[in-house]
Symmetry: C2
Subunit: 213 residues, 2 copies
């Protein structure tokens, strides 16, 4: 077994190219080319493609090349809505379950992000934003919900890259985070859920601009 790359590594690598936009929706994934690129035979490439298909990142049809998933407008909005609902669930659960340490870390990290907003550091804020939401997902203390929300987020990622380029988006996002944090700190699950839902829904509206099918 002198494989250049394992199936798991290929899955990661290809998934990464898709979610980072290196590969565009609709792009074909030719088994032979991928095999050459990763220095393996077609067999492991096929297995990787099948797994990516199950993850929803590529679409497969019999005797056709796999293509990077290009979800329809309708399905895309259903994913955004689902994302908002999942965030609501996470925030609500988190408000009742986060440990003292988790709450403190959420608060501190949120406060620190104010500086990024003031400096207009979009890249850094985007990274922080991922961290903020991940804190919520973890704070819910429900592994399966975490899996569902992570999976949905991964599939949405190709469609929300330009999000924070919108004017005023940073400070708006910050104040929405503020609402969520406040509700969580006082243990108000319903309010936290509502704020989280609103936060993600707004992102959704903005994103539809980029989501022409």
């Amino acid at each position: 077994m002198r494989a250049g790359t394992t199936v798991e590594q290929m899955v990661k690598a290809i998934a990464d190219m898709i979610v980072t936009g290196t590969m565009q929706p609709g792009e074909k994934l030719d088994e032979f080319s991928l095999a050459a690129r990763f220095q393996v035979s077609r067999t492991p490439v096929r297995e990787a493609l099948r797994e990516l298909g199950a993850m929803g990142l590529v679409e497969r049809q019999p005797n056709r090349s796999a293509v990077v998933t290009n979800v329809s407008g309708g399905y895309l909005s259903s994913m955004f809505e689902a994302m908002a609902e999942l965030e609501r669930v996470c925030a609500r659960l988190a408000a009742g379950r986060m440990t003292v340490a988790e709450r403190r870390a959420l608060e501190l990290s949120h406060h620190a992000s104010m500086r990024l907003v003031r400096d207009g550091a979009e890249e850094d804020y985007a990274a922080y934003n991922v961290e903020f939401h991940t804190r919520l997902y973890n704070g819910a203390h429900n592994d399966h919900v975490f899996e569902l929300v992570t999976q949905t987020r991964a599939r949405l990622s190709p469609f929300r890259r330009a999000q924070f380029r919108l004017p005023g988006r940073l400070s708006k996002s910050y104040s929405e985070h503020q609402d969520i944090v406040t509700a969580i700190l006082r243990g108000d699950g319903e309010a936290a859920g509502k704020a989280a839902y609103a936060h993600v829904s707004i992102v959704s509206d903005a994103s539809t601009v980029f989501a022409a099918d």
Copy 2:
């Protein structure tokens, strides 16, 4: 290509054996035996197993046989909780979105199920129950939520087989369905969601009896 079975057919067949309990959690899935059983070579079997792994129905480790997923007690309860939350979302959305025809069909089919309860027809009621919940999932008119809830349900199915054997479970389930239907018919999303959550949570409690890890 004189394959006896396609990969897709194998995925379905094996998934079916898992969710119907023909294969128990923990059971090994030997590639060679499966290849012999389905009259194909190991290559398509491997692809099927990888897809089942991505679906969460089997677990795979390097150089080990795939085994039917046997989730830990903690993860199992997180799945039941997630299921309840998803049902809540579906019911809430369905209350506001179901078409007139869908509402009528839900009501009629629910009423008809009373007969199954009276006769103690457990098998038939279980089938009806799947139908009832599927109506909710569809009624939410959100394809991605449908996908998430279906996937979670599939992964839970090996752990809820004996559910309706519990004494008095049928009539209790019926009256809980009644609550959901009533709320949906009058368009009360919050009440429908609450009732659906309660319904599934109760199932969860009952099921933990069978879910020793």
